[in-house]
């Protein structure tokens, strides 16, 4: 992973404290995407987390931040996607994340692009449901995800910067 090589030098302790205060935005659509995100979320539990989703009434797996709500949209419903995008822009500009993680679907890909424009590290986690090929949103995220993860080893592809680190189940 080329991005990791930049951070090899030992950091002074002041920087380390700063690192622990980093903000992480976690975003997922409702249903399986959200459930996969909550299973993965312990990875950043020690950081300042904001959850963003498309359903009303979901609670974060930890932390006392409210879960930010956005409109849902997919490539079948472009007009809703537009409203979804404005919600994501608002939430991310207010939170100013250092890292954005998504498990999809389309709104998550949009969040990575916006997060990248705000200077965040961006991580696409393709759903465990996609065992034969990466989702369309995952392919689309190629140009603005620092890291793309598949949950199926056989889909990992170094040339395309798709990595495998494990599976949520």
């Amino acid at each position: 992973m080329t991005t990791m090589q930049h951070a090899q030098s030992p950091q002074p302790s002041a920087d380390r404290t700063q690192a622990d205060q980093r903000r992480v935005a976690l975003i997922a659509s409702s249903g399986g995407h959200w459930i996969e995100l909550t299973r993965l979320a312990p990875a950043v539990q020690h950081l300042d987390c904001l959850f963003i989703t498309t359903t009303h009434g979901l609670t974060a797996p930890f932390g006392d931040r409210p879960v930010a709500e956005i409109m849902d949209g997919s490539r079948d419903t472009p007009w809703l996607l537009v409203r979804s995008i404005s919600g994501i822009v608002k939430a991310l500009r207010a939170f100013r994340p250092d890292v954005v993680i998504t498990t999809g679907a389309a709104p998550g890909a949009v969040a990575l692009l916006i997060g990248k424009m705000l200077g965040a590290v961006t991580i696409w986690v393709d759903s465990v449901a996609n065992s034969e090929e990466l989702s369309l949103s995952g392919k689309f995220a190629r140009g603005f995800a620092d890291l793309r993860l598949t949950q199926w080893e056989q889909l990992a592809c170094p040339q395309q910067h798709i990595s495998y680190l494990g599976r949520v189940l």
């Binding site: 990791m4 951070a7 399986g32 961006t122 949520v168 189940l169």
Partner: protein, 176 residues
């Protein structure tokens, strides 16, 4: 109580119709259905299009059996709660989804104890008929998830953001 769910995004009339037909033949069984935007209106079971997450979770906890489209969320929830689950994959060739990933999902997860895959509505009815013999799901293996969680934590600890233009050129070149 048997809980049917088809997710919120798309109709799944083939599944809703089959379970309603079974419910009509088994008036002694309570069946509750979350049917999303399905066109078919059930007559033999109570149904709602959408159910808010808190209530839905309570219904899942109450249910003795979950019947569902082959969505990952339903499978993980059934495993977390130790319930038996019957899944029927949405077939994109019938216009039930945008692509065939649910057909792949049933192949990948059919081996899990408690995950009962229905090949078609007829097979679903035979599975429902032997409801008392369906074994429940086991809790998901924490090992697999733990490796994943650790991997992401380690990446986040050291990652530095590449600028958009570098990611775009990397994507266009298809090389580091």
């Amino acid at each position: 109580m048997i809980l049917l769910s088809v997710g919120t995004q798309l109709p799944f009339d083939r599944l809703v119709t089959a379970v309603d037909r079974w419910a009509a033949q088994h008036p002694d069984q309570e069946v509750f259905a979350q049917i999303g935007p399905s066109a078919y209106a059930p007559t033999a079971m109570r149904s709602e299009a959408f159910i808010d997450p808190v209530r839905f979770s309570a219904l899942q906890a109450q249910a003795s059996l979950i019947v569902s489209h082959a969505g990952i969320g339903s499978i993980i929830n059934a495993m977390d709660m130790g319930k038996p689950i019957i899944i029927l994959a949405r077939d994109h060739k019938r216009g039930e989804h945008r692509n065939g990933h649910q057909l792949a999902t049933v192949q990948r997860f059919a081996h899990l104890p408690g995950v009962h895959v229905a090949r078609d509505p007829e097979h679903l009815l035979t599975l429902l008929d032997r409801i008392d013999t369906l074994e429940p799901c086991q809790r998901p293996s924490e090992q697999e998830a733990q490796a994943f969680i650790t991997g992401v934590r380690d990446y986040v600890a050291t990652a530095q953001s590449l600028p958009l233009w570098r990611l775009l050129t990397r994507a266009l070149r298809g090389a580091p």
